[in-house]
Each structure stands twice: as C-alpha cells, then as structure tokens.
C-alpha cells in the first residue's frame, strides 16, 4: 500500500507528535507514505477567512505534486484534509477557478487527487479487523471520549467523512483495540482551534465546556485526529487552571498514539512526552495489558 503523504506545517512544530506517530504506525502496518517534494502550506483558517482564491490555490499546489504519480494524498491533519477537499471541490465545480489556479501554478490541475484522512486508510483500505489483529496490546478497557471536532465532518457533502452528527470511526477503532468509545454529546462540537491565539477568551470557554463533558461522561482520556484540537484542548487546560481555578487533568492523545501503543511502538517514537497534560498512566496501562 502506497500513498502520497502530506504532513502539514504543524508536523514541524506543535504537532510533531502527530506526524511521528502517524509515520510509526504506518510503518508498523506496512503502509508506505511518500512525502511529495516541495509541499506547501494549505492556508488553513486564515486562508479561507481572507480570500477564496487563496484558499483553493494554496492546497491545490501540493495536490498537483502527487497528481502525476497517480497516488491518493493521505493527510493526518484534519485542517489540511478539510482545505484540500474543499479545494478539489471548488476546482471541479468551476472552470473559472480551475483556470485561475492553473495560471498561478503554471500547470493544470483538475481537482482529482483523492484526499484521505489517515483514519480512513486504516478503516477502509486496511480494515478494522486487520488492524486489531496486528495489535500486541489491548487498550485494557480504557474509557475514551472520541472527539472529532468540525474539520473532519464538515462540510459533509465535501468531506464525506462518516456521519456528520454522530461519527463513529474513532470509536470503532478504539473498541476494536479493547477500549471503550464513550457515548457523549460533544463529539462534533467546535473547540475554536483556529482562533486559539487571536481570541483566547472565546477558546478557553469552548474548550472548558468540552472537557467538562468528557469528564462527566467518565472519560480517562480524549482522543483526536486533528492537531488544532489537540494543542487547543491540551494546552488551554493550563489557562483554564489559571483563569477558572479548575484542573481537568485530561490527557488529549492522538488516535495514532493510542494505536501505536497497541501495536507495540515505543512511547518515545509516538511523541507521548510532548503532551502538556501527561498521559503516563495510560501508557502504563496499555503496556501491561495483553
């Protein structure tokens, strides 16, 4: 199994752990990921809040780089995934946009590269049974609040990822690995990640509500597939502590980190020490569960 792989800018900074755990898990599962040379930023939230053309042409530049190899583009960042899917959609919908993008890129791109989240590759291409069969350790009944956020599921006509109001992809994987994906109401609530720096006030109140609900639902940790959700839910716990005097102490781990532990990948390779709220107890539980 061979794919193009787009790490996204955060792979070099805030989400190095997402990137290393994705690569480690792929290797353990025999999935080959090829980084296209010279990939560039997708423009993220700032792009589409500023200019529609920018928000389409920026992701298209990287997609065009795998077009000729005929590979799907695998993305582990939900934000890049979202921007790339929307860009493909807009290029397919409008000849004017396609021409304008071609003009900027110096080549035509028809919006046809399939964009896949790493989770989709695990569930659709490899299959949940195969993934579970390769696991060396069980999650040992770990109670996990699976948090999907907004970028994977919306706009659903474009991303076509799971059920937009009650997605279960992460839960199915967690359950197959011997954990318990919890029923809880905030699976697709927004944490405000895109405004984390510019409207910290708004974001602290949104993250607090999500963490409260995870705790009330009995979660031992929250798992995510998006680096903006991760850093936001993880790091903003420090602000919640300071501003509201509440300690949630809720580890926010990437699904690839949980899966990596189950596959027997050493914790260091999964970047678990990078979490702001430590997940040591979880690492220990999984390491000792057969």
């Amino acid at each position: 199994m061979k794919y193009g792989y787009f790490p996204g800018c955060s792979a070099d900074s805030t989400a190095r752990d997402m990137h290393t755990s994705t690569v480690a898990v792929a290797q353990a599962l025999g999935i080959e990921l090829i980084e296209p040379k010279g990939w560039t930023c997708c423009g993220a939230t700032a792009g589409h809040q500023t200019d529609r053309f920018l928000s389409v042409a920026l992701p298209a530049a990287s997609l065009a780089k795998v077009k000729d190899d005929g590979l799907d583009m695998v993305v582990s960042c939900a934000a890049c995934y979202n921007r790339m899917k929307v860009a493909n959609h807009e290029i397919q919908q409008s000849d004017e946009m396609r021409r304008a993008v071609a003009d900027a890129l110096g080549r035509d791109y028809d919006g046809s590269v399939r964009v896949r989240h790493f989770l989709e590759v695990l569930l659709e291409d490899l299959g949940i049974d195969k993934v579970a069969a390769l696991a060396k350790h069980s999650l040992g009944g770990l109670k996990v609040a699976c948090y999907y956020g907004c970028l994977l599921v919306r706009p659903n006509e474009v991303t076509k990822f799971d059920d937009p109001e009650n997605p279960t992809s992460l839960d199915r994987l967690v359950n197959a690995l011997g954990g318990e994906g919890l029923e809880w109401p905030h699976k697709v609530e927004c944490c405000g990640g895109g405004l984390s720096m510019s409207r910290t006030d708004v974001v602290v109140s949104l993250t607090d509500a999500i963490l409260e609900m995870a705790k009330a639902s009995g979660a031992q940790c929250v798992t995510v597939g998006c680096p903006m959700c991760q850093i936001n839910l993880d790091m903003r716990q420090l602000d919640i502590r300071k501003q509201m005097g509440k300690s949630h102490d809720m580890p926010i781990v990437y699904i690839t980190q949980l899966l990596g532990l189950c596959l027997g990948v050493p914790a260091q390779q999964l970047g678990l020490e990078k979490l702001m709220i430590p997940a040591g107890d979880i690492v220990k539980t999984i390491g000792s569960a057969a």
Partner: protein, 189 residues
C-alpha cells in the same frame, strides 16, 4: 428579540454583494434558527448567525460589518451543516470578514484579521508556516506580548515550536499564488 437596523431605502444593503460572493440565495432563510442553536459562539456574540441573516434580509448596510460575530465566528460550519435550506451560513461569515477588511470596519477585541495577516505573510515568505515569525508579527501588532508567553519555554523544550523555519517548500509557486490573488483583487475593484 426586536431587531433595529438603519434602513436606507435607496440601497439594496449588503445582501446582493454577499449573495454574489457566496453564490447562494439567501432569501430562502425562514428564520428557523437552527444555525444559531448549534453555533458555539452564539451565546458570546451579540448577534447570532440567524439574526445576521435577518438583518441582511432587512437590507442592513455596512454597520452589519461591526457585529461581534464577524470576528468571533470560529468557522466550525455547524450552521451550514444544519441549515434545513442548505444555506452556507459559514460562507456568509467569510464574505462578511472580507467586506469588513475591505471597508475597514471597526477593529475588534483579539484582532483576528491581524492574526490572519501575520499567518499568511509567513506562508507567503516561507511557503510554510513558521510559528516564531508569525507569533512575533502578531504580538508586535497587538502589543499583548505577555499573553501565552509563559508557555513558550516548555513548548520549546518539547519542540512544539520549531526554532528555524522549514525552507523545503516550493516557495516560488506559493509566491505566485499570492501575487495572483492580489491581481484578482485589484481587478475586482
């Protein structure tokens, strides 16, 4: 809640321009308020999304661009996903932000436009984001140097902030894209 707008019967207000920018027919909104009930910031912002829609129908003018939600909206797209009429309310928010910037509407708390500019300038220059340059540009603009800075040492230690920018991106193409975007804007004017 009663809505008052400054009505100017001579003009069509912002609605046509927004319809043009988003390619949607806003007249189908029947004020069910599902967009507002799912909006994570509706309680914090003065005018929730359904009210913005109503104000547009009532031919609101540029004063709408000063609404708090324009820069408080987190682009989560819950409103668009749940609108029974299939109206892309989040795209309306994007359009309002573009107009607010063009028309230099009242600056607001937190300064999202400044953050977006700092972010995109970094991308234009490096081809990828580079947090330190972006944060510096943003903090210089807001003069709120101390917010979040207490987290930097531990973030650096955990290598959650890269010290040096990555220069592996295809910067030539990125710059051409920004140039094209500018040309398109100029042509619109």
């Amino acid at each position: 809640m009663a809505i008052t707008i400054k009505k100017n019967v001579e003009t069509e207000g912002l609605i046509r321009r927004i319809e043009q920018m988003t390619g949607t027919d806003l007249s189908t909104c029947y004020q069910c308020k599902r967009c507002t009930s799912g909006c994570p910031v509706s309680k914090l912002a003065g005018s929730p999304p359904s009210e913005i829609m109503r104000r547009l129908h009532l031919k609101a003018g540029d004063e709408l661009l000063d609404s708090e939600i324009v820069w408080m909206c987190v682009s989560c797209e819950t409103c668009s996903a749940r609108c029974p009429m299939g109206i892309d309310v989040a795209a309306v928010m994007d359009a309002l932000r573009q107009l607010a910037r063009e028309k230099k509407a009242a600056p607001q708390e937190g300064n999202v436009p400044l953050f977006n500019r700092a972010f995109l300038e970094t991308v234009k220059f490096f081809g990828r984001t580079y947090d330190i340059a972006m944060i510096a540009a943003y903090k210089l603009g807001t003069r709120k140097f101390m917010d979040d800075t207490e987290k930097f040492p531990s973030m650096l230690k955990k290598r959650k902030i890269a010290l040096l920018p990555s220069l592996k991106g295809d910067r030539k193409t990125t710059r051409r894209i920004f140039q094209k975007a500018n040309e398109r804007k100029e042509a619109e004017r």
